[in-house]
Amino acid sequence: MILTVSHIMKRFQNPVLEDVSFSVRKGEFLVLFGPNGCGKTTLLHIIAGVMQPDSGSVRCPKKIGFVFQNYRDALFPWKTNLENIAFPLELQRVPKQERLRKATKLVEKLTLSVPLNQYPYQSSGGEQQLVSLLRELLSKPDLLLMDEPFSALHHESRAYLRNTVQDLARKLKLTVVFVTHDITEAVQLGDRVVLLNSKKEVRVTLSRAERVVHSKAFQRMRKKFEAHL
């Protein structure tokens, strides 16, 4: 297991997380599903190590990527999109020319269309979130945490990015913990879905071809999923 979360408890004024446990295999796409305010973001912060649980433990790899819901607050508006993508290498003190070259190479390798020389505020929401994602991918994380990354985007960008993430996860064999409160998103993307409120798990047994909203298999899976809510 690449990630093991054991009996996590966290409370602020009220209990937010109560005895949460799950584990993730290498290369698995796990979706954490729950309504707003059920502690999904808190759980990701605990996994990322930027917040301590009241009790319980987390065993996770050192190299973690984090994609946020609010891409505007996560990107640096004083850097171009290319410089934003290259930021993890800047922290590793890689010389500027080299890190920009590596960032460009990554974008070309993944054949994605990103306005690299624009600033984030000159780009669309979808492009900005794609830049956030590419920034995390550049450091080749062992575990990618995604906190409702598409919920602030309009429908078209959301659908495009959902497909992009699905493709990238397979192509790069990413291990992903993806937080959402959108059933369609959970069923389309996840290999397994953990329902945070009821602490149940649903295994998504859909082939890649079936992971389209209009397929019968998808609708059956969705109904099975809803039965657990």
Binding site: H45, A48, K62, G65, W78, L91
Partner: protein, 242 residues
């Protein structure tokens, strides 16, 4: 175009009032006498302009160099800020003019006291702006860097400081005005051999209104040019906010 037209109308109104003797020249002197005073001032009082400008810039820069690092430090160390915020709020509420005697005691009658007062005035504005800037930085950016094992210095220099820049620029724009105001008042009331404040004070004692207006015009130009240059700099550095 509208700006030029409004200026022309204003000047014509001025000429009309003085030409018809509607206003006593002590209150509103004829335009030609003000232009004459301005000519004299520019020819003979370059040292006055340079002295005032020099003190303003020195005081302002001193304020920047002290207040910005201190503001970043206090903004990052919230516990310490909560302890000392009361002192900051108290000291920034006291008009620097009320503290003239203390500055004179500590720094004497020379340039040092005027520069120190100017630094005090602009420094507190910059300090409060910088602290607010640091405190309003986005959590997500820091979390992202922490997850990538960034050092505290890296977070401070690569994230917190650039994110605070819009607040620092706002502080600098207000701070320069205050530096200039305090230097002028200090030149008037503490006294100096050269300086626009001293010129205004001397002219006002002699009821030399044309010279007073000429000095005010120069001071206004200094303020306007400073603000314009700072705005240009701000646009190039903080392009995402302007």
């Amino acid at each position: 175009m509208k700006k030029v037209l409004s200026l022309v109308l204003l000047l014509m109104f001025w000429i009309f009032l003085t030409w018809t003797n509607s206003v006593h020249p002590v209150f509103l002197p004829p335009m030609h006498s003000v232009l004459h005073a301005l000519h004299d001032l520019l020819l003979s009082s370059g040292l006055d302009v340079m002295s005032t400008l020099g003190r303003t810039i020195a005081g302002f820069l001193l304020g920047v160099f002290i207040a910005v690092p201190l503001g970043v430090f206090l903004g990052v160390h919230r516990g310490l800020y909560n302890t000392v915020s009361w002192y900051i709020d108290f000291l920034r509420s006291v008009p620097v003019t009320a503290m003239f005697p203390l500055f004179l005691v500590f720094f004497g009658f020379g340039n040092t006291s005027k520069i120190a007062m100017s630094a005090w005035a602009s420094g507190f504005i910059l300090l409060v702006n910088t602290i607010n800037g640091v405190r309003s930085t986005k959590l997500n950016r820091r979390v992202m860097a922490q997850v990538k094992h960034a050092t505290r210095t890296q977070i401070l220099t690569k994230i917190t400081f650039p994110e605070t820049l819009p607040f620092i620029f706002t502080g600098m724009k207000i701070g320069t005005s205050w530096s200039l105001i305090v230097v002028l008042v200090a030149e008037m009331f503490i006294g100096t051999t050269h300086g626009l404040g001293r010129r205004i004070y001397d002219a006002s004692i002699l009821f030399d209104t044309p010279m007073v207006l000429a000095c005010i015009f120069i001071v206004g130009c200094v303020g306007l040019v400073t603000n314009y240059l700072l705005t240009l700099w701000e646009k190039s550095v903080v392009h995402w906010k302007v």
